[in-house]
Amino acid sequence: MGSIDAALKPRLRLRTRAEYAGWIFSILAGIGILTSVLTNPNFKWHVVGKYFFAESILRGLMLTIFLTVASMALGTLLGLALAVMRSSHVKPVSIAAGLYITLFRGTPVLVQLIFWFNISALYPDLRIGIPFTDIGMAVDTNAIMGPITAALVGLTLNEAAYMAEIIRGGFSSVGKGQIEAADSLGMSAGTRMRKVIIPQAMPSIIPATGNQVIGMFKGTSLVSVLGVAELLQSAQLIYARTYETIPLLIVASLWYLVMTLLLSYPQSKLEQKYSRATSRLPRKAKPVVLTDPEGAAR
């Protein structure tokens, strides 16, 4: 039976009826959605095109990027400090960090942002000085806490709580034996943290941090409630004037999408870099010798 040698015949995988049905359904649905999006005049794609590179939109985008970078950087630093405090053996230090994390993770970031914007209602002026003395200085809170500062403070403090938990999770993924090895060499706690724990915690911290950056990028849209002209607020300012609500929301959404896609590239690069320790290839790409001539001679 058949003209091909049986040993050379290709082996075909099973295709079920569900698979064919799935293909047909997805293609039909795809065509349907695409036609609808492209032919519905209310999408006003020409308006999307017109505003996509509009100056105020690009300025909003820059501010969004600035807020993301600044609050992520500051939030990560503060989060690292909190994570170290949280893992401390000194009880009050650990409890203080725990309270901070509970408070900031337990309340909505939108509420926190509005709170910081209105902080002057609690503290009309800020003083720096030694308690119970006249030494120090005071400034009007409203002079410092503008919308952008409030946004930065709110986003940073909130992010720090999440980063603290991510970093602490990374710390605890490092084996107990590693800590014992470092201790038995007489390493100080600081050296142990920098040279042993953090490098090994990185592979589990990096992917989670990448998600946080992406989340933060979109999360900055919340600060539009403070009147900060970031990407979303810039779009809102335009459609408040022109009533072209949907096209401008599409403009903003497309930018969020583009930036998110761009951000996932460095994230995967960083993941590769930090997985080096577990990779099987030597750093200087020597061929792996599986037998050990000198050891075998022993």
């Binding site: 090895a181 060499l185 030597p282």
Partner: protein, 255 residues
Amino acid sequence: MSHDGTIVAQKIRKSFGPKTVLKDINLEIASGEICCIIGPSGSGKSTILRCINGLETVDSGVLKVNGEDFGYYETATAYHALPPKKLAEQRTRVGMVFQSFNLFPNMTAHENVMSGPVLVKHADKKQSAKRAHELLASVGLAGFGDYYPAQLSGGQQQRVAIARSLAMDPEIMLFDEPTSALDPEKVGEVLAVMKDLAKKGMTMVVVTHEMGFAREVADSLVFMDDGYIIERGDAREVLSNPQEPRTRSFLEKVL
């Protein structure tokens, strides 16, 4: 710091919660002595090693390592814990080799061996690198410096771990079941390195199940059971003619 290499334990007690793992441990180890500790699992033999290295603290009793009270200083009424810096300094004089190697996976073999001198003693990098090279060669791993632990076999990793401890120039080396996690064919290469070391006059305390090693290399043998030292004496003598019935029944099972 003067060379000492002695260990003195008097009436050591240690509990983990309700479980007392060391009950009245008295042990003296002389400088240059090779002492093997054997006994059933849970007898407290690993805990003794971990106390000598400060990975665990003793609850009561006297523990002197290299002639100094270890981890504590004595006053008229109490033992006070030493500040971390002092404890770290004492620890640099006691090397520890673990059952599971515990090499730093983020560093190459060479960097692992250098880690102690460079990161702890802040020694000159060039000299430490040269020394690390020599140490790797001395454990039969010349040319393996650029490999990460994950690329080495268990026996090779354990030899790197021994080199890493030796790089600190300790007076005492502790081995916590150094060959228990190894394939049987790799056990020999690690024991060979330890035999070399024994010849050089290092004080060594070895928790092991390798009776052959104990017979061949050890000066003294300690048999532990249930938190007590049951028997201690010349290694070959205890192995061939144990005095205590518990030692005898244990040796009958393992030999």
